[in-house]
Symmetry: C2
Subunit: 235 residues, 2 copies
DNA sequence: CGACAAGTTGATGTTACTCAAAAGTGGTGG
DNA sequence: CCACCACTTTTGAGTAACATCAACTTGTCG
């Protein structure tokens, strides 16, 4: 059977995400499904990719991970947070040494990303749009770290997570999984975990969010978005 | 005449840069040279690309530019600094709406980036390596903003500029052009221009750098690099 | 020479860091 | 089932880095 399909809600996150970014043929979806049968699992805190290693094209299908930069004195910066459905490295891009190590923030499962049938295929387009989206997120991350204060950084990051979770069919319009520690959040936001904790308490006290059982619920997403002039990453 | 050439010091920066990143045939170099004959110039402070516009593949051949994010209240963050030889957008990548506006920091000249003859050609490889290098710089920028203090940020950025200038055949091992204002530097580093000014004075007082006539000279590049554990972006 | 942009200086305020310790949470094995 | 351990979250008090505001100087270009 050949033809075009709409993304299905019960599909795994990477299939929802890729088929939202470009229309995939059912052959391509089958390709992704069969790739899902040979998954690799990695325990929390373990490296998925070490710095300088050649990355095999991969997709994160469950758990969260992060590209990180460690400094000699113990400081650590999370460069990019990866959630289910995210590409670890596209089959199209250069097989270059990874510019940064990638570690699992939770237990993680990975599959290898199937090569696209052709550069004009839907899958190839989906991969390219993933990369563009990713770059948009990196730019947003830079603006966040450079010019927002703690509460604004946290708000901005949570809104980004919400959008990305929704893109992969995870969580709803105001709630989404967030299975990482406050310390990981601090390393993402360029803050200390103490300060992240205090900032979270402010937002909770103001009735803006709840965070329990590894999931966040934004109580007034529109007000949050308006308060920082949040706009979704365009793709 | 066909064959492989070494980069020539007197070549324009984009040719030096691309032919350092991958070996180009003389046909490909001719392609780049003829692209150089139809240059576009943009005055300082003008936009090269506005946010959301579709970017035409381009190369910066002279002057400096920056991708920026402007906030409603006047805050501004420079997301990426572009210097001569840098790709504005690769012919290979998606023709997606630009995630951020790009403005000229000095008067600028642009050429359009010629499409690579084939995906396996040297030029296509050079473009891909440009993108990988660029991503490495973005990661470095994030770590800088998230975890370094003012003096470290400045040092790290100047060392990156030195490396990138050298890659494009501009400047030497310790000195390079820096034709931008302290305010642009502040918007890059997530600091105020007042604080950048004071931090520069510290470095000057310690005999670490000179900055005059739009060019910086690092007096002890090795000591600077060691002080922050600087490692060049790997490509 | 005048005007405007860029760089410099000083005084003061605030955000976020540091250090330290207590309280809560979850998993493991006896 | 409980005791223990490691990890995470929370709280408090003092501090440092950077921002803010405002003025003044220098440089540049028409």
């Amino acid at each position: 059977m050949t033809g075009l399909l709409q993304p299905v809600a019960n599909d795994p996150p990477h299939i929802v995400r890729l088929s939202t970014l470009a229309t995939l043929s059912s052959d391509e979806i089958d390709l992704l499904r069969s790739a899902g049968r040979t998954a690799r699992t990695v325990a929390a805190r373990r490296e998925l990719i070490s710095e300088g290693a050649i990355e095999a094209p991969g997709i994160l299908v469950s758990g969260w991970a992060a590209r990180i930069r460690d400094f000699r004195d113990g400081r650590r910066q999370i460069l990019q947070v990866l959630m289910p459905g995210d590409l670890l490295s596209s089959p199209d891009s250069v097989q270059a040494p990874s510019p940064a190590a990638c570690v699992a923030l939770t237990p993680v499962t990975l599959i290898s990303a199937p090569a696209a049938p052709s550069p004009e295929s839907g899958l190839a387009r989906a991969y390219r749009r993933c990369l563009a989206y990713e770059q948009g997120c990196l730019f947003r991350h830079i603006a966040r770290l450079g010019r927002l204060d703690a509460a604004e950084r946290l708000t901005d990051l949570l809104l980004e997570f919400r959008d990305r979770a929704e893109l992969a069919g995870l969580g709803g319009r105001a709630d989404f999984p967030l299975p990482i520690t406050q310390e990981a959040l601090a390393d993402t936001l360029g803050l200390t975990s103490v300060h992240v904790n205090r900032t979270l308490q402010l937002l909770r006290r103001d009735g803006l969010l709840k965070w329990a059982g590894g999931a966040v619920q934004l109580l007034e997403p529109a007000r949050l978005a308006a308060s920082i002039g949040y706009r979704a990453v365009t793709i």
